[in-house]
């Protein structure tokens, strides 16, 4: 991970991270593709199914993720200025928000599962074709997004440790920066999921 002369190639690392995000774009892109095709085929069913979604929780979650993005961005600026404690504190806040997001998501899922809506459930299979697909997409897309949030939280926890131990410091922020990029990306995915699942009623 270093250039020939042994010093750290921060720009190279950042480039690698961006490339990774490109692959993530296409990974989620495959799902958005399915979504758009099925939404075109079953516009009315999607419309009806989306009414089941809890718009309040969805909106709160969006706000939480947006704010967490702010926190991680600030933490990078902080470490750049050498404010180690402030930075790790902000990272902690980010993690807490990520966890809060997941908890809310959990309650949303449970609420649906309680009324019998989950893939392959008898209730779901009785619904219209488009609604089956809608909820399938809902579980898969928010599920994979949630998995990304979870991974993000774990990675940020490691970053906190590195920050505290000063292996991440003013002159070496590449890892934290890349984590930030990842977190923002996860945020962006949610920015699109939110209207697609909650607002199309």
């Amino acid at each position: 991970m270093s250039t020939q002369n042994g010093h750290i190639d921060a720009a190279g690392k950042k480039m690698g991270m961006w490339f990774f995000l490109f692959t993530e774009i296409l990974f989620f892109g495959g799902m958005f593709l399915l979504y758009s095709i099925y939404r075109y085929k079953y516009a009315q069913d999607f419309h009806n199914a989306a009414a089941e979604e809890n718009i309040v929780l969805g909106t709160v979650n969006t706000a939480i993720l947006l704010t967490s993005s702010l926190c991680i961005a600030l933490s990078i600026s902080a470490i750049r200025r050498g404010e180690r404690y402030f930075s790790s504190w902000l990272q902690l806040v980010t993690i807490v928000m990520g966890v809060a997001f997941l908890v809310i998501k959990y309650f949303e899922w449970m609420a649906k599962i309680d009324i019998g809506i989950y893939p392959d459930s008898p209730v779901l299979l009785k619904m219209a074709a488009g609604e089956i697909i809608f909820f399938g997409l809902y579980y898969v897309m928010t599920g994979l997004h949630g998995l990304h949030v979870l991974v993000g939280c774990v990675v940020i926890a490691f970053m906190m440790r590195f920050t505290m131990r000063q292996t991440i410091h003013r002159g070496n922020v590449a890892r934290l920066e890349n984590t930030g990029l990842y977190w923002h990306f996860v945020d962006i995915v949610w920015i699109y999921l939110y209207p697609l699942f909650y607002l199309i009623t």
Binding site: A11, K41, I55
Partner: protein, 97 residues
């Protein structure tokens, strides 16, 4: 090999705060559009446009794309083009089927 992306750029806290406020404002806007049926027929399009605006803000400021070289922006565009191409060509099938 010097390129602009190698330079570090500390974004001011104020800028971040403003961006964050803008994001929340857009969130409120998108909610309003959907709830109040402001543009009933185009509400999906509207929410997607707002989502894109939000994503743009996150990309530009939080992800520092604004301060990156043309190179990275070009590649991002390339990626998005690939995705558009995939979706577009699939639609050519579905539309005319």
């Amino acid at each position: 090999m010097k390129d602009p992306s190698a330079e570090t750029h500390i974004v001011a806290t104020r800028t971040y705060a403003v961006v964050w406020l803008a994001l929340l404002a857009l969130l409120a806007a998108t909610l309003a559009v959907a709830r109040l049926q402001l543009m009933a027929r185009y509400s999906v399009l509207g929410s997607l446009l707002i989502a894109t605006a939000k994503a743009g803000l996150v990309l530009a400021f939080f992800m520092h794309l604004k301060y990156e070289g043309r190179f990275l922006k070009g590649l991002l565009l390339l990626t998005l083009c690939a995705l558009t191409l995939f979706i577009g060509l699939t639609f050519v099938d579905v539309w005319y089927r």
